[in-house]
């Protein structure tokens, strides 16, 4: 319930949809791929360095970490298929012979599978999330704001007090 409230708060805020979407996609990468993989240091750097929404990132990371346990067999299958594909053998062999490649541990089927899935989905999901957030704000949020109940609530002293506090915290 707390997570849902956080999500709603982020969605309802004035934050740029691009920042929320990028945070969700970075959360997807760190959540779906094995946590202690070196590439996740880069993801963490990007999360802290770029102006992405941290709440959305943490929420996305938590959600996708849970999902990862369920779809590990799929990552394993995809990763092993790629690693054992004869047409890609030269590429993997070259990567295997680099320090970065060995450090990354790309030759593990789950690391490879999850990373490939995340990188493939990243741009599409980023666009999708932006559209969804924009649509939500334009239609659902606007509709809620126009309801009598919401107008009554917004007119109350309590809402003004909440809005002030909310501004402080954000």
């Amino acid at each position: 319930m707390g997570s849902l409230a956080k999500l709603l708060k982020v969605l309802n805020s004035e934050t740029d949809p691009g920042q929320i979407s990028l945070a969700c996609c970075l959360g997807l990468v760190i959540g779906l791929t094995p946590l202690w993989s070196p590439h996740n240091l880069l993801v963490l750097l990007l999360v802290l360095m770029l102006r992405v929404n941290l709440s959305a990132f943490l929420l996305s990371f938590t959600l996708f970490s849970g999902v990862a346990y369920l779809i590990d067999p799929l990552f394993d299958w995809i990763g092993l298929s790629l690693l054992t594909a004869s047409s890609l053998e030269g590429l993997w062999t070259s990567l295997y012979n680099t320090t970065t490649g060995r450090l990354e541990g790309f030759n593990n089927s789950i690391t490879m599978g999850s990373l490939v899935v995340c990188l493939t989905l990243f741009p599409f999901l980023n666009l999708l999330f932006i559209r969804l957030i924009t649509a939500y704000r334009e239609r659902v949020l606007e509709w809620i704001r126009q309801t009598r109940l919401m107008k009554m609530l917004q007119a109350s002293r309590f809402y003004h007090a909440y809005a002030r506090v909310s501004d402080w915290t954000s």
């Binding site: 770029l50 102006r51 990862a68 990763g79 593990n108 089927s109």
Partner: protein, 593 residues
Amino acid sequence: MMQRIRLWGVGVFAGLLALLVIGWWLLAGWIIERAVEEMGTDLVGARVDLASAELDLFPLRVALNGLEVTNPDAPMTNAVEVRRIAAGVNTLPLLRRKVLIEELAVEGVQFGTPRERSGAIADAVATAEETATGEEASGLELPSFEPPDVDAILAGEELESLALIGEAQAEIDRAMSSWTSRLDSLPDEKRFQQYRERLGKLKNASGVGGALAAAKDMRAIQAEVKQDIDALKSATGDFQREVKAVEELAKKAASAPARDVQRLRDKYGLSPDGLANLSQPLLGPRIGELAKRALSWWKRAEPIVARIQAGDGTGGAEPVQPIRGPGVTVRFPERNPVPDFLIRQAKLSLELKAGSIHGTIDDITPDQPIHGKPLRLTFGADKLDGLRTFRLMGTVDRTRPGQTADDLTLHAAGLALEAVPLSESAQWGIELERGSLDLDVAAKRSGDEISADVSAVLESAQLLTHFAEEGPVPSAIARTLQGIRSFRLDARVRGTLESYSVDVSSDMDRLLGSAVTQLVGDKMRELEAGLRSGIGKKTSGPLANIQAGLGGLGGIGQTIGSRVDMGGDVLSTGGSGGTSKSSPLPGGVKLPF
């Protein structure tokens, strides 16, 4: 651009990274300590304790202090205790997940030190108990030198002689029964008498016609008599063959008691020849136990020099501990293959009571096929206190995948020994109170096949015996052993890792043999006489019955013979009882042909 970047975020990231590195560095000692203890315990099957571990980052060095490896067979004793192990680790290969150690220093290695608390782990207790049971079961014991009770032997043994006598008797009974009934079907005296009477009547025929008819009838009767004689002769042949077979059986049965005496004497007695190798049952179990212990340690250490999973670096998938779910790590060919783990040289300093022995172990890696060099070990020392010379050399070669070629040679001279149990048998305990040992061991392993030749020469020896059995023979053995001052012992181990035999021979066998031969000989003669008498009592009656049965068969043979004679008589006399072989016609008529 700057609107899209949080500078404080970079600072937080750097701070987090620094915290991670500092935290890891502070906890590294504890992490290494736990890792060594857990991995070591899994490998050995008993507790492995480490007092502390140190990690220096620049340059990267690891030091392990106070390593104690419990002896799985004696949990209150450390198999090995090491004061300090220090190694410098190459940093760059580490980034490629390669642990390369140029030099490892192992200082203060001691064996068999006492532990303050037991190092047994729950899983290993059952295994140790099973091992102990196995050793007990495989241990050889000397036979008793006191002859066992003859009645007890005969009560527990099935005598071959009684079986053969029973077989012969049954055959005689069958033959008697069969020939008695066959005699009834053969022509008998009454039948031959009838021939005589018929022939006699023919002689009274008168006239030429009567004479000719009588002659015809006479020829017919003669043919019948001949037919009967042939039947009797055929029966005689059958009878003689059958009697011959029965007589053979009876002969075998008659000689069987002597064979039983010989067999039981060999089984329950101790022949002087059997004493030719007393060192095998006396010392074989102890040497077998040492070989078993050595192989057990060898198996435990094997993962250090050979991966259980073939990892030749030429590709292929190998299962690894999954990060989250089941996963596999695929290996690809390396351009400049190097082992995942390699210690180029380990320098060891072993601290024995006699002094320090120094040695090196080169090229320790579980990836020998990649490294291309076998593990080699060399240890040596001279003029120690109680050890004149010590040399240990060995090679562990797994450079060719799937092939094993290990060898080990040990030479120790002038090793002073005190209170060493040579036989821990409860019945035949032997202890070397003191002595000086020259020992040579050459062991090899090729695949699953193992072989070891041990040659030991003991000088200035003083042996103590703890024999549970009393009597003249054990006393003689004890006296001889206590009087031995020097002896040579050779042991050969041959077989596979799972099943091998230990053959022990020693020049002490000659002394022991001559000491007990006379005593054992007397005992065995006593046993043999008892067995002969006991078996004789059991077989004499049945053997007499067999003789009587053979006599009965002889009577049947005589009856058949007399019937053949009767038939011959009828033919020769034409029924008159004469001896002429001509066939006179009735009325005294003589034919011209």
